[in-house]
């Protein structure tokens, strides 16, 4: 009797199960690499999405940033064990394309998400395309380095306007003068960035190179073509000078570099917009002890541009399997929802890549984002190369060669030569 009931029950369950796609819940597996202040905000967004959508459940996992993340994506996608959706740095797009991990985002996909290409900043959108113009990811934000400043060291100088905002930095000479002023006003290390880490050294170097119109890797794969070599030398020379003058910390790792600014020892910080939440949280907790601001990196050289990258959403291939249309629709629903709620993500300092949010009143009045939001249009992305982008040989070269060079272990010329040969040899 009991067995019979069990069989009946199972049969009923099986029939219901077979019928279910019509109204069943879709589970969307999600991988990201946000573990800091932005991770908290992303988790809040996911929770909100789940609460609003009884038919879709996002199951999120945060993994370790960098090479571990990208190799895990690569291996899991190959055997069909990858996530349904993941975050991806657009600077890693060339690698993703060469690995064949990313499935194309079609017109229909965008429609399912309620999005269209015209909704996005062109710079970010371009970075998400393959050479034929096909999208392989949906850009979520634009993030770059900005110049944070501590007003207390600049008071009474020409570098603060009447409202107490940073002004008057239009060249390297101006910037160095401002650092000198700050040093005289008691700033221990007037400028801080992660001088001993890959990201810190790379982003400052790349910004200085880009501001001179230099190219790190040309489209046909030449490293520092033509006079870009001299421009790169110039960039390293500037950073070396900052070290020699004692304006920037020696061999600072990332955390130490942030601590120097937040503890009020540095007048300036060149760091990513992702540290905005840190500053805001400290300020709200009354633990900061000084007034701060953040602006787009000033025009120090010939043109105003800054290193930038984008977080984006991508759908990896599922091995030999094909993602069911229902699942794909659910995934695109998640992506579309996230884009439209990117204002919460902007709270993590980022600039939304989705224009309706970036142009909304809520964002245009958000501080300090609104101050530096202008950079979205004139940012310089990493070169499109498999050896560039986050956690790439280009980043390694910054830690391995540029950082020691500016600390006096090697001349700028030699360092640039070595960067060149290193990157060129990794490219074959």
């Amino acid at each position: 009797m009991k067995i019979k009931t069990f069989v009946t029950a199972s049969a009923v369950a099986a029939v219901l199960g077979a019928m279910s796609p019509a109204w069943a819940q879709q589970t969307v597996t999600w991988w990201d690499f946000f573990v800091g202040g932005d991770g908290v905000r992303m988790k809040a967004l996911i929770d909100e999405f789940n609460a609003e959508h009884p038919d879709i459940e996002v199951k999120a996992t945060s993994l370790e940033w960098g090479v571990p993340f990208y190799s895990k994506v690569r291996t899991s996608a190959a055997v069909g064990q990858g996530p349904d959706v993941m975050t991806y740095h657009l600077s890693r797009m060339p690698l993703g394309l060469s690995e064949g991990v990313l499935s194309p985002i079609t017109e229909d996909d965008l429609q399912a998400a309620g999005l269209s290409e015209g909704d996005f900043f062109e710079t970010a959108l371009d970075a998400a395309r393959d050479p034929s113009g096909q999208l392989h990811a949906v850009p979520f934000d634009i993030h770059s380095i900005v110049l944070y400043y501590n007003k207390s060291f600049l008071e009474g100088s020409r570098f603060l306007d009447e409202e107490g905002n940073l002004t008057g930095i239009e060249s390297v000479a101006d910037f160095e003068e401002a650092m000198q002023v700050a040093a005289e006003n008691g700033s221990e290390t007037p400028l801080t960035y992660a001088t001993g880490d890959d990201g810190g050294a790379y982003r400052v170097f790349y910004t200085l190179l880009a501001q001179q119109g230099g190219t790190l890797i040309s489209e046909d794969g030449e490293v520092l073509p033509g006079d870009s070599t001299d421009k790169a030398v110039k960039a390293v020379e500037i950073m070396t000078k900052w070290h020699e003058e004692g304006w920037q910390p020696e061999q600072a790792l990332y955390e130490a570099s942030v601590a120097l600014f937040t503890s009020g020892k540095s007048a300036f910080q060149l760091n990513g917009v992702w540290e905005v939440p840190t500053m805001k949280d400290l300020e709200e907790g009354g633990k900061l002890g000084f007034e701060w601001g953040a602006v787009e990196v000033p025009k120090l050289m010939d043109s105003q541009t800054t290193w930038a990258d984008s977080h984006a959403f991508a759908i990896p291939h599922q091995g030999d399997k094909e993602m069911s249309p229902e699942k794909r629709e659910a995934v695109m629903t998640v992506i579309g929802w996230m884009e439209k709620h990117a204002i919460s993500w902007a709270g993590a300092g980022h600039i939304p890549a989705y224009k309706p949010v970036a142009e909304s009143e809520e964002f245009t009045t958000m501080q300090p984002n609104a101050t530096y939001a202008t950079l979205a249009d004139r940012a310089t992305y990493d070169p499109r190369s498999e050896v560039a982008g986050v956690a790439s040989p280009a980043y390694d070269a910054a830690e391995n060669i540029i950082s020691p060079a500016m600390h006096g272990y090697m001349s700028p010329e030699e360092a640039v030569e070595q960067v060149k040969s290193e990157l060129q040899s990794r490219m074959n």
Partner: protein
Amino acid sequence: MAMIRNKARHRLVAVSLILPFVAIFALVFAYPVVEVVRMSFTNAPLIGGGEWIGLDNYIRLFSDKLFYTSVVNNGYFVLLTVIPTTVIALGIALAVNRLSGRMQALVLVMFFTPYVLPVSVVTQIWAWMLDFQFGILQPVIEFFTGKSVPVFKNPNWVMPTVATVTIWWTNGFNVLLFLAGLRNIPTELYEAAALDGATRRQLFWRITWPLLWPVTALVLTLQLILQLKIFDQIYLLSEGGPFNSSYVLLLMVYREAFQLNHGGYAAAISLVLFLLIVVISVLQFQILRIGGKGK
């Protein structure tokens, strides 16, 4: 008839006993080795097949400057660790051997504890202690050199520092091996020698050292193989920098395979490393054996 059947049964038992090992060995060692050899002749990415490209990977490898830098660094690291760690372990073992009872156990535990820690913990501890801005060991360095040194960012300091960390971490195991060796030496030998009026020095060089030689040879060989495979500490502490002064072969394998998606090339490098280890360790063991016989 009975004999034959018995023989067949014997064979069956033998095969059934060996089979599990052979199967596992074939699956997790022999097959991967064959695959690595095959892959090293292709341009395969990290996952999936590639085209046969013959010796291209090897030609590229032997013209890659980074390869030679890595080989030299591997050699330098072996020099910095293998003999020092053996000598230190022998010294500690001799000292510990003089202690007895609880005291001996306690001291032994102290020396062995680091070995229990995972590499990530070990490197984190040392990275903090040696941090350029906040490290508690920087005043010590300052005392000797006059200024703080970013040890993992300085081309002269990085390998010796990684070697020091490695020796601190792995020494406990070698101490245990030596201690076991020391306990195997019959005490009568010492007593007889003492009756004949042998000095401390004579006791060591005439009894302890020759009888301990097999253990010493073993420790040296194990260390050589282990240190040629250096990867974790370098990856976690210096990432091969500054300007490749701590780049080693396994780091090159990792970067090529996982960062750049060059499976075939990485296979070629790892095969070269594998052969290097086989040749050097066999060579070393033979030399040590001959050395041992001469005594």
